[in-house]
Every structure is written in C-alpha cells, then in structure tokens.
Amino acid sequence: MKWIPTALVLAAAALLPLLGGDFYVNLASQILVAVLMAASLNLLVGYAGLTSLGQAAFLGVAAYTCAWTGVKLGVSPVVAAGLACLMTLAVSALFGAIALRASGLGFLMITLAMSQVVWGLAYRLVAISNGDNGISGIVRPSPLGLSLDSPGAFYWFTLLVVVLALWFIAILVRSSFGATLAGTRDQPQRMAALGHNVWLIRFAAFMISGFLAGIAGLLFVWYNKYIHPSALSMTASAEALLAVIAGGSGTLAGPVVGAAVVVLLKNYASAYVERWNMMLGFVFLLIVLFLPEGIVPGVKRLLGRGR
C-alpha cells in the first residue's frame, strides 16, 4: 500500500468541510457514494472478471427498502437500514444464483435484464414505490445521537463509511480469498482441478459486491432524502461501470479516481455545456485511446516511462 499518498488524500478529504462551502461538501458526498458503487462493482469486474451491467439494482433495492420501511411503515432509520441490508443480501443471493450460471457476455446480459426488472418494479409497484413520484421524506439516522442534517456532518459520516468499505476491499483482495477470486478470473478450469469451488467463490464475491452497493444505496437515499426509479436505471449501472473502466479495473485506486471523474464531469460539464453527455463521451473516448488500461494504471505507466 502506498501509505503517503493515501494518507494525504484522506487528510485532505477529512478537512474539506472546514475549507469548502456547502456546494463543494455536497458534491464531495455525491462523489463518495459513486466511489463506493464503483468499488463494489470493481470486485466483480476487476477481481472476479465478471462484467455486470446491473449494479444499480442493489443500490435501488437498499434505497427503496429503506425509504419504504422508514416513510410508509414508520420504522426508525437504523431499523430501516438493517432491513435494507437484509433485503439487499437476499436479492444479491437470488441474482447471483441466476446470473452465475453464465460468465462473460451472458453474465452481463443477465445482470442487465434483472436490474431492468427491478427498475420496472420501481415504476410499476406504485403501492410500495409511489411509481414515478418517488418516495420523499426520508429521515437520516443520528448515530450516537449526532445529527447528520448538516452537509458537513453527513459528509464526514459518508467518508467514514466509504473509507471503512474501501479498507475492507483492500484487505479482501490481498487475502487468500482474494487470491482465489483472481485465480477463478484467470484460470477457472485449473482452479477447479486444484480443489477450488469456482461457483461458490464467484457467488461469495457477488454477495459482497451487492452488499457494498446496498450500503452505497443507503448513503444515496440518506443524502437525497428522496428516491426515484431513475436512480436504478441502466444509465446508473453504466455510469458505475464507466467509472471502474475509466479509473482502472482490478486496482484499488482506479474506481476512486474513475468515480470522481464521472461525477465531476457530470456536474461541471452540465453547467457549461448543454450537450454534456456528448462531452462525457468525448472524454471517455480520449481515455480509451490514450490510457486503455484506465487512468490509474495508465498514468503509472506514463510516469514510469518518463523516468
């Protein structure tokens, strides 16, 4: 681990609410949620070699469970969060059991199809989701009695959760399990011959990935205090995948950088350029052309060549 740059980025991130205004603090909270989404997806794309186009489904399941139980059933935010985690795990298990019958393009299409089902349900299951109106009035939790209503407090809370999640991922990918996961990506047949249960390893990774995306969903719904079906559209899944690939899949820093680039481009480009989607596309075209392995490994390569 590169301790010095990691510590510097962490220190800067922790000091941000003292230096920047609410606009920047809120933008940073959005980036953190996108980072967790991308990092969760990177476990599948980068480390398991399973490209999914349905990661937003888990964000959506967690967000809607939290919103529905909190607002409509009136349970406390903490209980709502617990129920959201359980629901996300259940949906991850179901989706994993179905999608892992395939790999490669088949896996991608199945995850896409299943996430579209969840998206469709969010629109049509009006009794639970309020359909196109979405659910508003979600209350943020107050851990240890601390209110998270100010942008700064919520940002610090989000930063803590996301850093803990990234730390867990960093430990996981260096562990025995992480090594076997990468093994199933590179040589699944050999892994089976060596005694590894390839399916179960992938299933465990899928569950962990879904669970972490569910945590991102909780942060997302607490940040916005509102949830709408568009949050779990294919575009949302594609943005997470774009962040992973642009930043560098299979690296720890890649999804962090990639998610920051995607969120910043979306926010700034849309403020100045009407056709900001086109600009987004143009930037990613440049990344693919000049840094095809992603920003983090690509910049490393360029710096290494300079020396």
């Binding site: 430990i171 996981l172 260096r174 562990s175 025995s176 399990f177 992480g178 090594a179 076997t180 990468a182 093994g183 590179d186 040589q187 047949q189 050999r190 892994m191 089976a192 011959a193 060596l194 005694g195 590894h196 249960n197 390839v198 465990a204």
Partner: protein, 247 residues
C-alpha cells in the same frame, strides 16, 4: 473391486453423434504407473477430462479409490486426492511462481476462504511453496511471473502445481510435450522420483522416456481400448505395432 485407485467401467462419451469414448474399461491399482498411448484423436485427453470431471460421460462409471465420481464436480474430486496437469499449459501467467503454488496449496486448505488474512503471511506456507518449487528445480525463480518462464520451465511448474496437491492419483497429460532432449531427461527423472504410493496415469508420445516410467500400458484407438496389460505384453502385441508404433 477393492485396491483400485481408478476403476472405469463401460464408459461412453458422444460429442453429437461422434463417439469419443466407447465402452472403455480400465483398472489401475494403487501405486501403479500406467501409460496411456494411442494415435492423435484416440480420445486420451477426453478420457482424462472425464476422470477429472471437466466433461460428464454419456454413460458408464468412474470410481476413484472405490467411490463413484462420474457426476461429482471437479473440485470435489481434487479433495478425494486427484490431481492433473494439462497438455496445453494452464498456469496463472500473470502471477509469480510462488502465487501459482500457493493457489494449488490453498485448494485443499480451509483457509482458502479467509477474507482477512494476507495470503503471503504464513511462514509455514512459504516454506512449503519453496520446497515444492525446489522439487521441480524452480526455487530460484520463485518471485518471477509464470508467463516469463521458458517453455520447459512452464512444463515443470505444471507438474509442481499438481504435486503441491499431494495427490493419491496423478494424471499427467503429455508432460514431455515440446521439451528438448535434455529437458525430457530431467522431467522424466522428476516423474520417476514421485513416491511409489502415488498412482500415476500418464499420456505421452515420447516412448523412449515414458516406457521407462511405466509398469503397464493401455492403448486407445477411436475411443476404444485396443490393448491393455503390462508393458511387455502390450509392446509384444501385434495390434500395438499396427495401430500405434506403425512399423
């Protein structure tokens, strides 16, 4: 029958309408060294894939150490004591030799599910990795990436991964393929040094080296067992000359 490491009865496999294995019966005793020969396309590797579990047979039975395994997934057969190498080199090319062997060792260890402990943490594991790499003469390159090894060294790493599993039955699929004359001698010696309690079934075309290692031979042709017996019996059989040796 007891005492058999591997017992195959009435095994059949069709790919579409094409029979790749036809009514194969093979009995390999504990500690036996069996050589599997036959012309290209005889169904030797297909037979290996069925024993290892990568291909499910159309009919018949495969027993490993007395247990019926014909519908058992490959990873569970590995836990029974089966290991194999591949004719087409199948290594973790981007990983170091150390990591390659570690993955082989982990396959049968409970700690393979550990999500918190770094894989390189254990001193005992490291020592075992180096011991296995030393067996195949690659301990000096432990930190090198497998993909950067010379072809002959990759062949030896193939065998090292299988040996790391401490198998009771070892399937070697053309372990000498593509090796130079000197390399064939050294890999042959490596195979000869495998402890006698390990049962070995080997596919090999290099008769000079392979014959020395074999107690018995099975000759396959068009997916069928043509001749089966001790080394001397099979070599003396006129059908062996006709089908395989060709002179």
């Amino acid at each position: 029958m007891t005492g058999a490491a591997l017992e195959i009865v009435g095994l059949r496999k069709n790919f579409g309408g094409v029979p790749a294995t036809q009514n194969v019966n093979i009995h390999v005793a504990h500690g036996e060294r069996r050589l599997l020969i036959g012309p290209n396309g005889a169904g030797k590797t297909t037979l290996f894939n069925q024993i290892a579990g990568d291909i499910r047979p159309s009919a018949g039975s495969i027993r490993l150490f007395g247990r019926e395994v014909s519908t058992m997934p490959p990873h569970r057969r590995a836990h029974l004591g089966l290991a194999r190498t591949y004719q087409i080199i199948t290594l973790f090319a981007g990983d170091t030799l150390e990591r390659n062997v570690a993955l082989a060792l982990l396959g049968l260890m409970r700690s393979r599910w550990n999500m918190f402990r770094p894989i390189d943490a254990g001193a005992a594991m490291r020592a075992e990795i180096l011991r296995i790499l030393d067996l195949v003469g690659l301990a000096g390159q432990a930190g090198q990436r497998a993909g950067t090894l010379a072809y002959g060294e990759q062949r030896r790493l193939e065998i090292a991964l299988a040996l790391a599993q401490k198998p009771k039955l070892l399937l070697l699929d053309e372990p000498l393929a593509g090796l130079s004359a000197e390399e064939r001698v050294s890999v042959g010696a490596l195979i000869g040094a495998i402890p006698r309690e390990v049962t070995v079934v080997m596919i090999e075309h290099d008769m000079d080296t392979a014959l020395e290692l074999a107690d018995s031979i099975t000759l396959l042709h068009h997916g069928q067992v043509i001749v089966d017996g001790t080394r001397e019996e099979v070599l003396a059989d006129p059908r062996t000359r006709e089908v395989y040796l060709g002179h």
